[in-house]
């Protein structure tokens, strides 16, 4: 009973599909649907979440994400240029920063900014500034690494051709190198926005007024209301997906476009 490689692959795939179907059917039968729907997918509880879950929570999540990204981009560009600088201390500082902030959970950065900094320096930022700083500090490290990789991926001949046409260093970088690097870094930058959207949930650590609630805090407050069950959190999860799934598709689109471009070379 010799099988060719193709036949074996076919059988193996058949077994995998079969297993999947069994698991799904088992879950459908084992789950206690009535309890599940009333506790986690309760339509009347869902209706209660509107419109605030959109007008307050989703809106704030988007604002925090955007602020974090602006701060992270600014810091990231600076750090990437420092990493590529010919001045050694700049490179050391940037490397130290990147390793530090990539290695520490975002939660700790939020705690440090929310509680450590006020203790140490007797200043207390308003929440928006703290959010922007905390998300910016963390994402700057990742963004810097993406940007550096993107800049280094532009062939050296591009820079040399620009310089040979009489462009200065900064003119060559701005006009020729950075636009090409940006195309390369669009997919990782889009992924970074997804991470930021999720990390923005850490704002709850800072203590907020109702109007500052973002999706996670909003959901947590709602389930502590009597009889709400888990439904508000499920709804909050769906709202995150509304943000992140399109971004994920966008990242994949950018990736395919970049692949198509490099395949033509």
């Amino acid at each position: 009973m010799a099988m060719t490689a193709r036949e074996r692959a076919k059988v193996s795939r058949g077994v995998q599909y079969g297993l999947l179907v069994v698991i799904v059917i088992a879950l459908v039968f084992i789950a206690d649907w009535n309890t599940l729907i009333s506790r986690a997918l309760n339509p009347s509880v869902m209706a209660q979440q509107f419109p605030e879950i959109i007008t307050v929570a989703l809106k704030n999540t988007l604002i925090y994400t955007a602020l974090g990204f602006v701060a992270g981009m600014s810091g990231g560009i600076l750090l990437a240029l420092m990493r590529l600088s010919s001045v050694a201390p700049y490179r050391w500082i940037a490397t130290l920063y990147i390793e530090l902030f990539r290695g520490v959970p975002a939660l700790l950065v939020f705690l440090a900014l929310g509680f450590g900094v006020p203790l140490a320096f007797q200043v207390r930022f308003n929440n928006l500034v703290t959010v922007m700083l905390a998300l910016g500090l963390v994402s700057a490290a990742y963004i810097a690494e993406s940007l550096r990789a993107g800049l280094q991926a532009v062939p050296k001949g591009q820079y040399e051709a620009a310089r040979s046409l009489g462009m200065s260093h900064s003119r060559a970088m701005i006009t020729i190198v950075i636009p090409q690097a940006l195309r390369i870094v669009l997919p990782p930058l889009t992924n970074e926005v997804i991470l930021l959207a999720k990390d923005s949930s850490l704002v709850y650590l800072l203590g907020m007024t109702v109007s500052q609630y973002e999706l996670t805090k909003f959901g947590r407050e709602a389930i502590s209301g009597s009889g709400a069950g888990l439904t508000p959190l499920v709804l909050a999860g769906v709202c995150y997906l509304v943000i992140t799934v399109p971004l994920g598709l966008l990242a994949r689109y950018f990736e395919q476009r970049a692949d198509a471009r490099s395949a033509r070379h």
Binding site: S168, I176, Q180
Partner: protein, 266 residues
Amino acid sequence: MNNTASVPGATASHPASVSIDGLHKSYGSLDVLKGISLEVGPGEVVCLIGPSGSGKSTLLRCVNLLETPQQGVIRIGDVEVTDPEVDIDAVRRRVGMVFQQFNLFPNMSVLGNLTVAQRKVLGRSEAEARKTAMLNLERVGLAEKAENAPAQLSGGQQQRVAIARALSMDPELMLFDEPTSALDPETVGDVLAIMRDLAKEGMTMLVVTHEMAFARDVADRVVFMDGGVVVEEGPAREVVGAPQHKRTQAFLSRVLNPTQVDAPED
């Protein structure tokens, strides 16, 4: 007064001379150029030949300061470009460079490739830059490709665009580093024909090439380099046709009979 001679892109407006004296370049402990001296008169075409690793590219890249030599003097016209005080960007504006790998900007159209430096470096208006670009595209026979992306062109067409891009800056001197080495054999001729025209129009040209027929027919002089020194130089027909030095003879017989096997081993 007669202004008809100053049609942009028709001829080299003021072909410059190049004078290289005692040039040394090393990378760490590796001596690549060991005292090169070379003269190229205004409007003259000099071909650099020599085995791989002999320092031809390095020499060319020193002329437009993509590499900084440790010792020696290079003059373009009456400007000493090795002077540490020199404005490097101003030097490069006068010198066109054509690379083996074309190095067209992939994110711009052909026309964009030809206009970007005219506008950002020479400060020409969009209309002016466009006009010069189209003249030079016509000159290399690719006016109809102006709106195409570089990736849509063949290698030979890309190299012709790269030449047109350099010419759009109205250079006084053109450097070519193996411009046909990355091309399919059938497109080599088009590129060489353009370089031949350019030579006829009186451009000063310094050309690194393995195309011996081109060197023999087009160059005024040929310089053979090996191991970072000039081994032999002279009129093109003499160096290519009747080389005096043993190393030149060995190199030429290898290049001219690439299929010939030295000694069959078994």
